[in-house]
């Protein structure tokens, strides 16, 4: 199953809603588009809504970790606002759950970013 990504830009914040299956096959084209979009829109923060992401493996983790490292370099933040138990478990196992900001909804994620900016 393919991975669908819905992107919404609000100022310098990029909200991504991902659904379907995020594996090595899907990661390549998504990474390329994301990097271009983030550069074009001067994105500094990112909100991930993974509520409908049915599957993710270490390739997906690599994609997210890559964007996280980029945001860190430019002083931005990444907020995770929803994930299925399986996806959450992968974040926990990789230690990423500890370094990401976790919020319960997109709205709360936006307010959290406003607070830290």
């Amino acid at each position: 199953m393919a991975c669908n990504v819905e992107a919404e830009v609000k100022g310098n914040v990029l909200l991504l809603r991902m659904s379907g299956e995020l594996d090595h096959h899907e990661v390549g084209p998504i990474r390329k588009e994301l990097i271009e979009l983030m550069e074009k829109e001067s994105i500094r923060h990112m909100i991930l809504n993974l509520a409908n992401l049915e599957f993710m493996d270490s390739s997906g983790l690599g994609l997210i970790l890559g964007r996280y490292k980029h945001l860190q370099k430019i002083g931005g933040n990444m907020v995770l606002c929803a994930a299925t138990p399986a996806v959450k478990r992968l974040f926990e196992m990789s230690g990423m759950y500890k370094i990401l900001i976790v919020e319960l909804s997109e709205e709360r994620a936006f307010s959290r970013l406003e607070a830290v900016q």
């Binding site: 199953m1 299956e21 594996d23 090595h24 096959h25 390549g28 990474r31 599957f55 493996d57 270490s58 390739s59 983790l61 690599g62 994609l63 970790l65 890559g66 138990p85 399986a86 992968l90 196992m93 990789s94």
Partner: protein, 146 residues
């Protein structure tokens, strides 16, 4: 009840999803838990991705073999490639290690396999391919007999 399945497929990244679906369909009759099903799909995805990226350097004309066997709810999965293999298996299995930092890999593949399965065994040698064998005992089914 015991059952076996062996299949061969081409080393293209599209087949990572196919391999996951085959493994999920194979164990479906045994009523795995949602967590077990998700674990199996993840480890198959990791091992097949390794074969595509590392074993065969993303060349799309090789063959990957997936072997599944289940007996008394003990599931054995083997993923076999005949690619370039690894000299240092232990190094490859270390968390966060990746031979391809250029590809933004997380280096978590083997760690995930070891975490999700009861047993993971990797046989590999330079230019002699890689076999990843993983074993997991599926939990007993609670039949609701009144």
């Amino acid at each position: 009840m015991k059952n076996s399945l062996t299949c061969h497929f081409t080393s293209i990244s599209e087949n990572e999803g196919l391999a996951r679906m085959i493994a999920a369909s194979f164990i479906a009759p045994y009523d795995p838990t949602v967590g077990e099903l998700s674990d199996i799909k993840t480890v198959v995805s990791e091992a097949v991705t390794n074969a595509v990226i590392h074993g065969y350097n993303e060349e799309d004309f090789h063959e990957i073999t997936l072997k599944l066997h289940i007996e008394q709810r003990l599931l054995t999965i083997e993923i076999i490639d005949e690619g370039k293999g690894m000299e240092k298996v232990e190094q490859a299995m270390e968390p966060l290690y990746t031979s391809r930092p250029d590809m933004e890999r997380s280096g978590m593949g083997f760690t995930i396999m070891e975490h999700f399965m009861d047993q993971v065994e990797v046989r590999s040698a330079s230019n002699q391919g890689t076999t990843v064998k993983m074993v997991k005992q599926l939990s007993a089914v609670n039949a609701n007999c009144l």
